[in-house]
Assembly symmetry: C2
Homo-oligomer: 198 residues x 2
């Protein structure tokens, strides 16, 4: 329907997550009218990101070098390891400024329905990493959903024999939310995990 | 917060229309994990679209040559001209297969609040085009909103002295909609424009 290359662009944009056919069309028309330099910059950064971005050889976090910024930082506590599913979880936790240890990025969560078992995740590398005894606590910070919980349960069992402290992030009511809108599982967990009022 | 180039990508994506910070982040993470060849293809089509896509020298439609496909097509009726705001309106009208004439793309609509007056649109070129008398009917197919109506009113006044047939697209109830949900202006127009039942 569109001139060849315009349709190609709409098709490519439509493959991005969360970009439906209408959005792809709107973005394409915007780019058609945009300054050539702006469009070129987007194209360049796309190529640059694939050329430059690697994954840290220690923790599998996103890195521009062999090791990520956090693994290279000597001020980070090497005795506490936070295990997350994805790079974006690292960023979310960093934003809280509550954690000064290091990370291990699994690269996903166990999900039999998607064909992802423990061997598809960086679990073997985690066990190797824990081998030297430098880490004394592992915080399992997988997502609070079915796949994340399954992954955490699996890891708890795997790490048990190592004699480490293994912890999970607290479940409970999200701050700023309304109690009446919390789902029953969350509200139930908030009761189970209740703490002395201070 | 993110490694340099990842943040650059999120920033560039966030400049696209309808892509908020969360979507930009999601798309960026998707691209980080995508096949390099797929990302490269998107980058290439972005550059190609700016290199290849021009605007038709006759009607200002999108074109890969000096003239667009429609202006080059000898089967299109040169006596009827449909005036639209944007390229996407051409595509929408082409999709109906109801129109076999040619187009003139204004490049927008009159909108004093956005600083767009008649001189920013391809109105002068429209008048030049009508000069040779080949066109006998001009269909004003601007958007049925404030700016589109203002533009159509302006054009009606401009074209009056030329002795052409000047028409507007019909206003009325959208097909497939519910009468009770139509706004009062649309419903009012549907009454004014009522036709003999067949």
């Amino acid at each position: 329907m569109y001139e060849g290359v315009v349709q190609d662009l709409i098709d490519e944009l439509g493959r991005l997550p969360g970009v439906g056919p209408k959005s792809a069309q709107r973005i394409a028309f915007h780019l058609l009218q945009a300054e050539p330099a702006d469009v070129r910059r987007l194209a360049e950064v796309l190529i640059e990101v694939k050329d430059k971005v690697k994954f840290c050889s220690i923790c599998f976090n996103v890195a521009e070098d062999d090791q990520c910024r956090i693994c290279r930082d000597p001020r980070r506590d090497p005795s506490v390891l936070c295990v997350v599913e994805e790079y974006k979880d690292v960023v979310a936790i960093e934003r809280t400024r509550e954690f000064r240890g290091r990370y291990h990025v699994l690269g996903g969560a166990i999900s039999p329905i998607d064909g992802i078992g423990p061997e598809q995740l960086h679990i073997r590398e985690l066990l190797t990493r824990l081998g030297d005894g430098a880490v004394t606590e592992v915080i399992l910070a997988t997502d609070p959903n079915l796949e994340g919980e399954a992954t955490a349960t699996y890891l708890t069992r795997m790490l048990g024999p190592l004699g480490l402290r293994v912890t999970r992030l607290a479940s409970g009511l999200p701050v700023g939310g309304d109690l009446e809108y919390a789902d029953e599982v969350t509200l139930g967990r908030a009761f189970v995990g209740r703490q002395a009022a201070t």
